[in-house]
Structure formats: C-alpha cells, structure tokens
C-alpha cells in the first residue's frame, strides 16, 4: 500500500500514534501495579495493538464497541483519554466510571465504548444488542464485539451470532486470537476450525495477520462499510499475541509458553515496529518524527499518571449511589 496523499499520511501517523498510546498506557499500568500504587489485577494488551487500532480506526465515535477484561487497548483505540483512564484504574472519581468499574469495567460512554467485561464472552450479547438498536432505530451505527480466543468456549457467542445472522445485524465479531486463555493454549480449548464457528451460522468470516495494522484496517474499512449497508454480520479472526502474562501477576509462565515463543513474537512480529518500519520505508515519517511521537505519548502518559495519582477518590457517600438509574 502506498501513501497517496496528505490525508492518508495523517491517518497513518494517527494509527501509529494510537498504537504507541496503547503500549505506553500498558507500560504505565504495569509500573503502577508493580510499584504497589495500583490495587487489584489488570490485564495488559501489549502486542495486540494492531488488532485494536486497525479495527477502531475504521469506526466513527458513534459506532459501538464492547470490550473484554483485557480492555485498555480497545478503550484507547476508540478514542479515550489517558487521564480518565488512569483515574479509573486507580479508583478515582474522575475516572470514566467514577472509579467504580476499574480496569475490568472501564468504558468510554461518549465514544461508544460500552465497556470492558469481566465475564469472558459476556459482552457478546451487548454488542449484538447495540447492533439491533441500530437496525430498529434506522441508524447506521455498527457494533464491534471484541473477544479473545478463550471466549470461543462460551455458548452465548453462538446464540447471538445466530440471531445476528438471522436478522442481518450490523455486528462485527472480532476474535483476537492471542493463542492463550489464561494458562491454556487455544488448541486445548477449541476443536475444529475457528472461522468455521462463524460460517456455520451463515456469517462471512475472515482470518488475518493481526500484527499487520494496515491489513486489519483495510479489511475493517470494507466490513464496516458493508455492515452499514446492511450486509452484516461479519466475523474476523486476528492472529496476535500478548506480551505480558495473563495479568500483571503472571510472571513465571514457562510452564505454559516458552521464552522463545515470546521473543519470536516480540522481536519479529511486533505490530508497532513493523508499522514503524513501513512508515519509514514509505517515507511517510522519519525515524526522528516517529521518536517525537513516542516521546509525546510517553509524556502524555506520565502526566496523566501523575494527575491520576493525585486525584480524589469518590466521596464515601457514593458507595450506594448509581445502584439504580434515577428515572427521568
């Protein structure tokens, strides 16, 4: 793919910057945890940036996504701000969910991110429902359901894909196959062909290198347009890898995956490095320009972390607020 015009260039740099932002966010989240400043567990998506950004760059802010326990990347990719995100991770009132959701329930309601979900596969219904709303109300919004290879074990997914197919809903099911669900390899969790699990329901399925952000973006552009035109649903299988452990505490992991496998992905298939190289080769950006982006992103992240660390916790009276929505 060649960089044709200025708009394209800007878009490429935005993609790069978004991937960088995810990586920076996760690095900081990891540090916050390791330094004891963040409580609870959190799941980092470093390594999966191309999947997340490639898909979300094809979406409008009015389009919907649902996310997973590994949800920071989706959140950044859909347009969220660092500050509200770190506040949420630290349980501060300025977080996207006033600190009540935390890492596993982070959402960005204004940008169509309906939230991370701590139930594997648990948001498949929600995304499909958002697609139903779009159809019922005659809107053009598309709903993307992100989930991992592990979620292929949940029957709910097949129930809702069936309905999405029967009703031609503008839903796109995006499976980020990072090869593991916790400490178990996908081959021990999923029999048969993964794409066939969607085609069985009459859903068009695509398998792709999830480390190639432009390939993902280009497929997503196409499918999103077709979904808007009523040709959905679709299924996309993106082959990718998570660099960190299952969660921040998963340090010793050689019993389920080898160090060689990890380095191979990091050294040879890193989505950011690959795309950076491409940008330089295409003369869209120099190494220096990319470094400038990196530095800006790091600085943004650092500032947001500092802000979040100083920010206030919710008032204790909030503990029993929001259990019920106040009726209009």
């Amino acid at each position: 793919m060649a960089a044709e015009n200025k708009d394209d260039c800007e878009s490429y740099l935005h993609i790069y910057s978004q991937m960088r932002r995810i990586r920076a966010f996760e690095d900081n989240a990891n540090q916050l945890y390791l330094s004891g400043k963040m409580q609870g567990l959190t799941h980092m998506s470093s390594g999966q940036e191309a999947a997340e950004v490639g898909i979300c760059e094809a979406l409008e802010s009015t389009d919907y996504i649902t996310s997973t326990h590994r949800g920071h990347g989706h959140c950044v990719a859909k347009g969220a701000h660092f500050r509200e995100m770190f506040c949420e991770l630290l349980g501060k009132v300025e977080g996207y969910c006033r600190g009540k959701g935390g890492s596993m329930h982070i959402a960005d309601q204004d940008n169509g991110n309906l939230g991370a979900n701590a139930i594997v596969g648990g948001s498949a219904g929600i995304a499909t429902g958002a697609a139903l709303t779009s159809k019922l109300l005659g809107k053009k919004d598309v709903a993307v359901c992100f989930f991992g290879d592990g979620a292929l074990g949940q029957g709910l997914l097949y129930e809702v894909m069936n309905m999405a197919s029967l009703w031609s809903l503008p839903a796109i099911y995006v499976c980020e196959n990072n090869l593991y669900g916790e400490y178990t390899h996908v081959s021990e969790m999923a029999a048969g062909d993964l794409c066939a699990r969607a085609t069985a329901f009459g859903i068009e399925a695509h398998e792709l290198d999830g480390q190639d952000v432009l390939a993902v973006k280009s497929l997503a552009d196409d499918l999103v347009a077709r979904a808007r035109a009523g040709e959905g649903p679709f299924f996309v299988l993106l082959n990718t890898y998570r660099y960190h452990g299952h969660h921040v505490g998963d340090i010793n992991r050689t019993y389920y995956r080898s160090k060689e496998e990890e380095s191979d992905w990091k050294d040879n298939r890193d989505p950011i490095a690959l795309f950076g190289t491409w940008l330089r080769k295409q003369k869209i950006a120099t190494e220096k320009e990319l470094e400038a982006i990196d530095e800006q992103v790091q600085a943004d992240a650092k500032a947001a972390v500092e802000y979040a660390l100083e920010a206030s916790y919710p008032d204790l009276s909030e503990v029993d607020m929001h259990v019920y929505a106040a009726n209009a």
Binding site: G101, M163, H322, V323, N327
Partner: protein
Amino acid sequence: MREITLSQAVNEAIAEEMRRDPTTFVLGEDVAEAGTPFKVLSGLVEEFGTDRIIDTPISEPGFTGIAVGAAMTGTRPIIDLMFGDFLFLVMDQLCNQAAKQSYMSGGKLKVPLTLRTNLGATRRSAAQHSQSLHALVCHIPGLKVAMPSSAYEAKGLMKTAIRDDNPVVIIEDKLMYQEKAAVPEEEYLIPFGEAAVLRKGRDITLIATSSMVQVALKAAETLAADGIEAEVIDPRTLVPLDEDTLITSVRKTSRAMVIDEGHQNYGITGEIASRIADKAFYYLDAPVQRVGAMDVPVPFSPVLEDLTVPTVDAVVERVRAVVEGRLHDVA
C-alpha cells in the same frame, strides 16, 4: 368498571407503552404470530409488526444479552421469558450484566429493560416448569422486582416497569392469566415501592405476594366468620419493598404471617419476616409466621403437587393457631 383478564391487562399495558414510545419492543420465543403459548401477546404483531414483536430462536441467554445491549443504546426492550424456570438460564446476563451496568459505569450507562416471566405450580408441569424463583432476582442489587396479583396490578405495574430506566423483572402468576378484575379504561400507573392494603383488619397482618394474595384474601374471609379480622397486604414490588406499610400494619395488629409461593428456605418469607421481627419487635404478640412452598422440587403427580403450595385451609388453620396462642411448645 369493565373487567378484563390478567392476560388482557398485560397485553394492553404493553400495547399502550409501545404506542407511546417507538423505541419499545418485545423479544422472545413465539411472541409474534403465536402471541406466546399463553396467548398473552396475541394481536400485538398485527399492530406493531415483526420488527417490534420479535420471535427469537430458543436462546434465552443470547436474547437476554441482546436486550441488555439494546437497552444500553437507546431502546426499551421487553423480554418475554416463557417460563420462570428459565430464569436460571439468563442469570448471568441479567445479574452480572444488566443489574450492574448503572453502578459499574458510575451512573453513565443504564439498562431500561423489562423482563416478564411467570411463576406458579399446580399446572401438572413438573419440576422444570413450575418454579417460583423470584427470591433469586430479589437478592441482586440493581434489579427491581414486581409481582402483580391481579389484572389491575398487572397493567399498572407493567407500564411502570416499561418506563423505568432500570432492569425490572416482572413475574406473573401463570394460573391467573384468565382471571378477571376491574381495570380502568383510562391510563394509570402503579408506582413501585407502594404496597396495597387490600383488606383492613385488627388481629393479624397477612402479607401475601402474587398467587398467594387470593389465598390470603379467601383465608381472611373464612376467618372473619370466626371473628378473626385479618389485614391483607400485597407488597406489589419486592424490590423496592414498602417496609413502612408492612411495619405500620403489624405494629397495629401485633401478629403477622408472610405467604409466598417460592420455596420457603432462604426465600421471600425469611426476608420479610425478619424485617418485621426486627422493626415491630416490641409490638409482636406471637412469632411472625412464614408460609412458603415446600422445599422440594415440584412433583408431577397431582396428588403430591397440591401439597407443595400453601392453601387457604393451611393459612386459616395457622392463623387460628397464632391468634389462639397454640403455636410452639416453648419449653
């Protein structure tokens, strides 16, 4: 006033709300042309079409999840769950997803959905089609739970449920679908959290839910002939619960009995009885009585099934024992 059946009342409520708000729709199995197996929704598809009265596959977890997502994005789904026993299938979507969205998002997301289903044994439908499982949903913060005991309540509560911005579980007594009651032609809503005092009395307060309201009222009639005046109260919504009305009554009558068709163990009767035993402690002349369904799966055999559900006779006999002070040996 005209009389209509509980089934018609539900149908009317849904039709009125669907006319009022074009984002309201129905999702469930055999709801369209079939109008549900109980025929409660008959005719709606003619008026609203299959876009808004949507037949689903037999996928309760799936369509509940879809309703949650639809509700979060600007519509008001009404889920039709054919039998209350299928609540077990939708618990994750209902309790982990719907019930918690508002809270988990710090009030920024909401899930205005209504899940209507039913309860009730003695239809010879055996253990998986006869359960009264409202206690399960009452335990989960974020859900509201309404239990109509007549056509009048069914209509008013259903309309309130549909307009509520929260997930509401509304549970009908499937044995009452053909029971008639006076229902105004004019629009009315029944607010949540307001119990109805259906009969005034001085000797004991009978708190009864759903199917048990008629049992309590009939028992009260029989007792009146003996000179025992029972006050009968229907909480109408179990979440929120109108504790004040219950407590005020018991403080007056000094005795109370809670009657509910759910299993007695770890169910509704324990919650309400313990609140009364707490807040009316200094007023009680006798222990609060709990009358729930037997703690057994519902048997098919008619001779057995009839034993599992509280009856008018059982209530009458127990009230007499309480009022006459022949309850426990308190050795």
